[in-house]
Subunit: 706 residues, 2 copies
Amino acid sequence: MAPAPDGFARLFNPRAIAVIGASPDAARIGGQPIPILIESGFRGNVYPVNPKYPRVGELACYPDVAAVPKPCDLALIAVAAPLVPDLIAQCGRAGIPFAIVFSAGFREVGAEGAALEARLKEVIAASGVRVIGPNCIGTMNLVDRVYCGFGVGFRNPHLKLGPVALVSQSGGFAYSVVALADAEGLGFNYIVSAGNETDVTTLELAADFIERNEVEVLVLYVEGVSDGGRLRALGRRALELGKPVLTWKAGNSAIGRAAAESHTASMTAGYELYRAAFREGGFVEVNDVHDLVDISRAFLHRRLPRGPNIALITSSGGSAVLMADECDRQGLVLPRLSAATLEEMRKVAPKNCSLANPIDLTAQISGRNEDFNRVVELTLADPNIDQVIVRYGNVQGAVGEAWARQLAGLVGKTDKPLMLALGRVPDEAVAALKVLEDARVPWVLTPLRTAVAAGALHHYAEKQRRFRSASARGGGRPIARQALEFPSGAGRLSEHEAKRCLAAYGIPIAREVVLAPDEVAALRKAPLEFPLAVKIDSPDIAHKTEAGAVQLGIKDLAALKSAASEVVANARRHQPGARVNGVLLAEMVHGTEVIVGAVNDRFFGPVVMFGLGGVFTELLMDVTYRFAPFDAVTAREMIAEIKAAALLTGFRGSAPLAVDALADALARVSWLAADHAERIAEIDINPLFVNAAGVVAADALIVLKN
Amino acid sequence: MAPAPDGFARLFNPRAIAVIGASPDAARIGGQPIPILIESGFRGNVYPVNPKYPRVGELACYPDVAAVPKPCDLALIAVAAPLVPDLIAQCGRAGIPFAIVFSAGFREVGAEGAALEARLKEVIAASGVRVIGPNCIGTMNLVDRVYCGFGVGFRNPHLKLGPVALVSQSGGFAYSVVALADAEGLGFNYIVSAGNETDVTTLELAADFIERNEVEVLVLYVEGVSDGGRLRALGRRALELGKPVLTWKAGNSAIGRAAAESHTASMTAGYELYRAAFREGGFVEVNDVHDLVDISRAFLHRRLPRGPNIALITSSGGSAVLMADECDRQGLVLPRLSAATLEEMRKVAPKNCSLANPIDLTAQISGRNEDFNRVVELTLADPNIDQVIVRYGNVQGAVGEAWARQLAGLVGKTDKPLMLALGRVPDEAVAALKVLEDARVPWVLTPLRTAVAAGALHHYAEKQRRFRSASARGGGRPIARQALEFPSGAGRLSEHEAKRCLAAYGIPIAREVVLAPDEVAALRKAPLEFPLAVKIDSPDIAHKTEAGAVQLGIKDLAALKSAASEVVANARRHQPGARVNGVLLAEMVHGTEVIVGAVNDRFFGPVVMFGLGGVFTELLMDVTYRFAPFDAVTAREMIAEIKAAALLTGFRGSAPLAVDALADALARVSWLAADHAERIAEIDINPLFVNAAGVVAADALIVLKN
């Protein structure tokens, strides 16, 4: 249900606003919205609603919602929580399409509040009113100057207007962030505290904002979202539009997650799934106010680097060293400039300075602004370079302003991003920074932070290229949807049943048969080639090894028969009531062990996990995730992402393994999980053996859901 | 050569200063020091020296150094590089004890400059003058108001005085950092740009500053130091004094290191050795200006937490969640408060708020400053809590000031650290912040940064405890110095010779013998128990496996004889001239493979490396370093530090291995490396097998130096 681009237009820019629970007492929440609306410059009518008062301030007060004049597009509700549902119903009857509920006392306070919230949700649905909150502190529209909220964050009519929108699951925190970002010079246009999201969610608002032309950067403070699919859709749309969603995700550690739950009672998936969504879509994770400011500024340049190659131009060796270190951490590359560029550069660069990248023009460049900019111009023109950071000292006063104007002119002649690492107090360079800001040339306070912002541009550009390439490739379905027969109800498949599902999707499995115990006892010759694995085949025994129901490396018929009878006896002893399909005989396979898993997350749907076996996965957590389905190209990215990838692609002279076959298998698992997401809760292939010739699943588990 | 505490007194606070190369032209470097000295408030005499001018500004100018009146404690030198050595010699003859050389054109510009610098170094030594620079921008003493330098960084007479000293290997960068930190309210007392450090080094200055009472925090910007031992000594002294050395280390990536070399031509060890020094001593690594400001403020509180337990008290759920996440990353723990504390707290806390830690008093606490502070008081008194962060909104104006005064009073009654996470623009809370600053209660701009600073206090306190415990334990030498006989000159020992060195230090090795090839051929029975390893024993063949000179798992005498002759033949074919001591027969040993190495770093001396074998060390870089020698307690810390430590201490029900024996072996290797640092360049035990009973070295290499 993506809203139309103007779906929330009258919420943020209402013709008139009713304040329900209005009070003359500014210490009460109901006493604050009216002065704030007036102070912020709201030009529509404001209608206080409260049966207790004939007037509130200078305004006539209405006894109830029905008495409010029409048209009224928005109700601000500041009454005791138990009264809220009925008031929403009244708004519905009065034809008020939007409400913002400040009242607290819903699910964030426990079971009683949760029951009240459930009732509120029903009333909202029946009323047709779209509701922000409850338990929120309000919204700001700086374009049309409409502040609808309470608290100190709204007593700031001089906030700077700019092309950044913010939606936050924490109200107090959001307005603290806005105040700090404003002090660093970043301007916002829309700010929303989403509260409990009983009706309108953070993601619905985000989907609205990202379509607005005036929103160039979207910032989300998120503790958890209930719809992973919508989060992913937002990420895709962001990449299509080339807009970044700066995402400040909190509640990621166990203790932070517990705190988040007590805070807004968010139901949340594991952080690793959020990260998978962030990596795939147009998101940029931020962790503090300065990240938000720097990276917003970088994107407001409205250009992205074509590749990882960056040039650093400085007059201070120390900042060159620091930025080079950070560029390395960011995966940026500092190539040499072309010979032609260097030849031209030598004509203007101070002698004895280093023109290797970083280009350190040293303090000798002081006062030679034209020469400095000539070096910048040559660097921007160099085909080896995708983006540029300059760090320069002569930025004060009129001289700095002239320098900045010339620099902005040079930047305007290219489509490559360029940022200034300021490295001084902004007050000393006001004129120059104004020129750069008008020209949308980003500046960042410190060299390190500049390199971080350059990294963010690069990573975003890479994601956009990957996204476009994946879109061009299409779905990459390696096999048509296969009909599979599953038993009804929740439960497990036996190993053999699970492997038949894999085989149906073209995932190689070991050659195997299931025989009844007496069939094994009667065998004259082995049905498969030795050595064999002998296991119980039962949907009820998940941990076969612990049950003593696995024997490996069986080399002859006699050993096979004795292994089979032991396996059956052990299984029956371990779990007397277990259903047993028979004895599974499988040819032994070899190679490097990897694990391929899929879980059907309640928030994100099916997601595939990949890692090397044993300690790599369980101790070192060297695993990676992708949402299903995906194609083999994406699977190759997964394989390349794990730290121990060299063990598959060739390490210390060992032969490379069949990585293409592995990627194909990963993609097929993703389609199996996606095609049958209605029934498959979990897939676990552990181990999948990878060798030089291909891959083979040696064990498999599939868990079904209702 | 640690200087006496007042060794540099007259450098920073001279009675009179000669400015050599003084000029009336402010665009020249020589034209800047005199106006800067006057502007900064220097009260001593200033003597321009330049044969070209009779006066410079209002001051009489002297034709040469010899003509300068006595006493003159400091010369500032701003002349062409080739003239510098002779001028230093003149200073020496004139009895001027200190000089600061601004001139560039030494080793930073290549071979010719390096030769000039070598000559300068000789002249300095002969002259007795102590010299800062060359290629530096100067020093500042804000206590006595003496600015000796040039450039925009010195045109700031209003820098705030505070208890922080800074020594930097990058001049321009240092003064940029100071300006930015000053804007965030941090004050400095001494600032030095160390330049090429031809005479006085960063570490000599650091050793001086850390002893000064007025220096409570020392900041170093370092690209590389030439004396690792002195760096380590500084770290120990810092822990003894309880002062932090905030270390901003740049040039750590390959590209950054290359940039650092072109910048100041620093010779540097690998970053991992710096990190080992930082981890051991009173260093705190910082990466940007805000780290520096926040962590300095945290330490100026002059109290350290007794343990990892922290309480967060907020009125905003969002900031609670963010801080909880960061505390988790920092290794801080959020315990529940005691039952008694909670009982008292419930009397004042708003209903429905969460008193689990983080304590979220919600927006309902607004205006109830006394109740908020009562919660703080109870938390500080709780025995489960070692330090506290508060995040509170009501900090404006007189109300905020009163709140801050009460808070400071509560903090003054305990010895636990408490920090305020401000979360708003400081201008809005000027009065409250002044109260806190006067009381040395730290405040930090954002919640995340506050949690980072709390983590820094905790890590420092832990290091101090470890240091004190190690000092109390003494050296922990597990074995007296053993005399070892080494062949003269650089080269390798054979495996057997290397293992005899290990055995001399009590490190268990496999039972083994070396026999001549014909002795093996004549054997009637094996001299050791099968299975055996058979290898060539030669100081010349480093890579035995590649030479085909190793056979493992030999099970009987016939196989032994054939293996021995193959190994010898292969070795001779692989490297015809190699010296061969014989055939090494060794009993096969088993267990988990680890690697123990030692290198004798030219900057840091002997250092021991530990990691698990194979991919863990070579691909995942899961290794740790300690300087030799150390005791088994420190070795246990090393073992616990690697990510895959659980493979040794017990993983998924596997039996724990003999970690004590491993720790003992590590300590013994460290003593071997330290006792024989004059000859041993490198030790490599790969693998050392660890099993449930103990450890055994299965292969060993020792490389000698001249």
